[in-house]
C-alpha cells in the first residue's frame, strides 16, 4: 500500500494560490475574448456575405479539429517566431501571453458554435416581428435576437467556461505555473506527486461542481 505524506501541501499553499490566480486569469480572459470574438464569428457565419461566412466556418473548423495541447504549443513555439521574423525584436517571457492568446482564439471557435446555435434557437417569427415593426436588420439583431439568444445559451456558455477552466491545466505543456502546473511542480520538487495530484483533483472537483450547481440553478430559473 502506498504511504501517503501530505506534509508538502500546507507550505505550498501560497504557491498554489498563485497558480490558481493564473488559472483564473487565463480562464477569464479566454471567456471574455472568446465570447466577443465568438459572437463576431457567429454573426459572420450566419450573415449573407459568403466570403465572410466561409472564412468564419474555416476558422471554427480548423480550431475545432486540433487538440488544444497542439494549439497551445503552436502559439508558444511557432507563432512567436513568425512574429519575430516580421517585427524583428525580442520576445520576453511569452508563456502567459501565448497561453492567453491560444486559449482566447481556441475558445472563440467553441463559443461561436454555441452562440450560433443560440441565435438560431430564436424563432424566425421573432425576426419577422422585429422587421415588421420597422426595425432595421441590425436593430432586430441587437434588440430582439441577441438578448434572447444570450439568455437561452447562458447555461451552455457557463458549462463551456467550466470545461475551459479544467482545460487550462494543459498549459503545463509550456511550463506555465497555473494551478495544476504548480501542484505538479511542488509534487515533483518534494517527491510527493501522488499526494499533490489527488489534492489538485479534489480542488478542481469542488470548484467545478459548485459552478455546475450554480449553472443548474440558473437553468431552472430561466426555464420558468
Amino acid at each position: 500500500m502506498y504511504e501517503f505524506d501530505w506534509s508538502s501541501i500546507p507550505g505550498a499553499i501560497p504557491l498554489l494560490a498563485n497558480g490558481l490566480l493564473i488559472t483564473l486569469e487565463v480562464t477569464l480572459t479566454a471567456i471574455v475574448v472568446g465570447i466577443v470574438w465568438g459572437t463576431i464569428l457567429a454573426i459572420a457565419r450566419l450573415g449573407s456575405n459568403p466570403v465572410l461566412s466561409r472564412l468564419a466556418a474555416a476558422y471554427v473548423n480548423l480550431f475545432r479539429s486540433v487538440p488544444l495541447v497542439m494549439v497551445i504549443l503552436w502559439f508558444y513555439l511557432i507563432v512567436p517566431q513568425g512574429l519575430k521574423a516580421i517585427f524583428g525584436n525580442d520576445i520576453g517571457d511569452i508563456r502567459l501571453t501565448s497561453a492567453l492568446v491560444a486559449f482566447a482564439l481556441f475558445e472563440a471557435a467553441y463559443y461561436s458554435e454555441i452562440i450560433r446555435a443560440g441565435i438560431q434557437s430564436v424563432s424566425k417569427g421573432q425576426i419577422a416581428a422585429g422587421l415588421a415593426l420597422g426595425f432595421t436588420p441590425g436593430q432586430t439583431m441587437r434588440l430582439v435576437v441577441l438578448p434572447q439568444a444570450f439568455r437561452n445559451m447562458t447555461p451552455l456558455l457557463l458549462t463551456q467556461a467550466i470545461i475551459l477552466f479544467q482545460d487550462t491545466s494543459l498549459v503545463y505543456v509550456i511550463g506555465l505555473s497555473d494551478f495544476f502546473g504548480t501542484a505538479y511542480k511542488v509534487g515533483d520538487r518534494d517527491g510527493r506527486l501522488v499526494e499533490l495530484l489527488l489534492f489538485a483533483g479534489a480542488v478542481y472537483f469542488v470548484i467545478c461542481f459548485s459552478a455546475s450547481l450554480l449553472v443548474k440553478r440558473l437553468q431552472a430559473r430561466f426555464a420558468k
Binding site: D90, G175, D190
Partner: protein, 276 residues
C-alpha cells in the same frame, strides 16, 4: 572584442535573458519562494557578471525565463533566451542547432535501484521494465542498448524526472536510468532515501554546457572565459561543495555526491568538448 550579435543586443537593450530549469535539482530550480537557485544558476550569474565587465556596463537587467527539455533548444535558437544553463548535455547532434559553452559539469548515466532489488549493473536489466525520462540522452542510450544487445527490456519513457522516479518508486520499473547527479537529487527527495542507491558502470559520460546561439564566437568567448576562470580559481569547487555535499533548499536535503575524477580533471583543464 569580436563582433557579436548577442553582446550587441545586451549592450543596446541593457538586458540579458537567462534560460533556467524549474526543477532540475540541484542545477537549476525554484526554491519555495519561486527564486531560481542551483549549481548551474550560480555559474550563470557569474557569466552575467563577466558579460557586464566585458561590456563595461554598470547594470544589466537580468530577465529569467524558465525552459523545459522540450522547448529549450527552440527558445535559444529563436532568441527568446540568450543563454541557457541547466542540465543540457553537449552533443554533436545538438551542436548543429546551437553552440555550447565550456563544460561545467560531467555526469555519467547510471541506474537508480532499490537496495534490495539485487540489480547491480546494466546486464541485470534484461527482460525487465526500465524507466527513463523522455527526450534525454539516457533514453537514446537505453533504446540503442536494447536494440543492439537484444536485452528485451520494456522501456518506459516518463514525461519528467519526477514521473520517472514515481514509476520506479511505485514498482512499475526496477531501475531508473539517468544522469547520476539527477539520480542523487531524486534519492534526496524520496520518502525513504535509505532504500535507494545509484549503481552501474556509467554508460556514457556527458558534458553539461550552457547553450548559446550558433555563430556568435564573441559571446561564446566571454562565457567560456567566465566558466574557466571559476573552475581554475577553485571557486567552482566551493560551489560544488555547497550544492552536492551540503543540505540544500527547499527541504534541507543533502545529495552526498562526492566529486568524480572527471570533474576534478575538468576543473584542472576547462574545455568545451562533447563526449559524444
Amino acid at each position: 572584442a569580436q563582433e557579436s550579435a548577442t553582446l550587441k543586443k545586451i549592450k543596446d537593450t541593457g538586458s540579458i535573458t537567462l534560460g533556467h530549469r524549474e526543477s532540475s535539482i540541484p542545477f537549476s530550480y525554484y526554491d519555495d519562494k519561486q527564486q531560481v537557485i542551483g549549481y548551474a544558476y550560480e555559474l550563470q550569474r557569474k557569466i552575467v557578471d563577466a558579460v557586464k565587465a566585458e561590456l563595461k556596463l554598470d547594470k544589466v537587467d537580468v530577465k529569467l525565463m524558465p525552459v523545459t527539455s522540450a522547448n529549450r533548444i527552440t527558445l535559444v535558437q529563436n532568441g527568446t533566451v540568450d543563454i541557457e544553463c541547466g542540465s543540457t548535455t553537449n552533443n554533436t547532434e545538438r551542436q548543429k542547432q546551437v553552440a555550447f559553452s565550456n563544460t561545467f559539469f560531467v555526469i555519467g548515466t547510471k541506474l537508480m535501484v532499490k537496495k534490495t532489488s539485487g540489480i547491480k549493473d546494466f546486464p541485470d536489466l534484461a527482460g525487465k521494465n526500465v524507466v527513463t525520462t523522455a527526450g534525454t540522452t539516457s533514453e537514446r542510450l537505453l533504446r540503442r542498448m536494447n536494440e543492439e544487445k537484444q536485452m528485451k527490456m520494456n522501456i518506459i519513457s516518463a514525461k519528467d524526472h519526477g514521473e520517472s522516479f514515481l514509476t520506479l518508486e511505485t514498482g512499475r520499473a526496477v531501475a531508473f536510468m539517468m544522469d547520476d547527479a539527477l539520480l542523487y537529487g531524486e534519492i534526496a527527495k524520496a520518502k525513504r532515501p535509505a532504500d535507494w542507491e545509484v549503481v552501474g558502470t556509467a554508460q556514457s559520460k556527458e558534458a553539461y554546457g550552457c547553450m548559446l546561439r550558433k555563430d556568435d564566437a564573441g559571446f561564446k568567448k566571454v562565457v567560456d572565459a567566465a566558466i574557466a576562470q571559476a573552475q581554475t580559481s577553485g571557486e567552482a569547487d566551493k560551489i560544488y561543495a555547497k550544492w552536492f555535499m551540503n543540505p540544500i533548499p527547499p527541504k534541507g536535503l543533502n545529495l552526498n555526491m562526492p566529486m568524480s575524477d572527471e570533474m576534478k580533471e575538468l576543473h584542472k583543464a576547462p574545455n568545451d568538448r562533447a563526449y559524444e
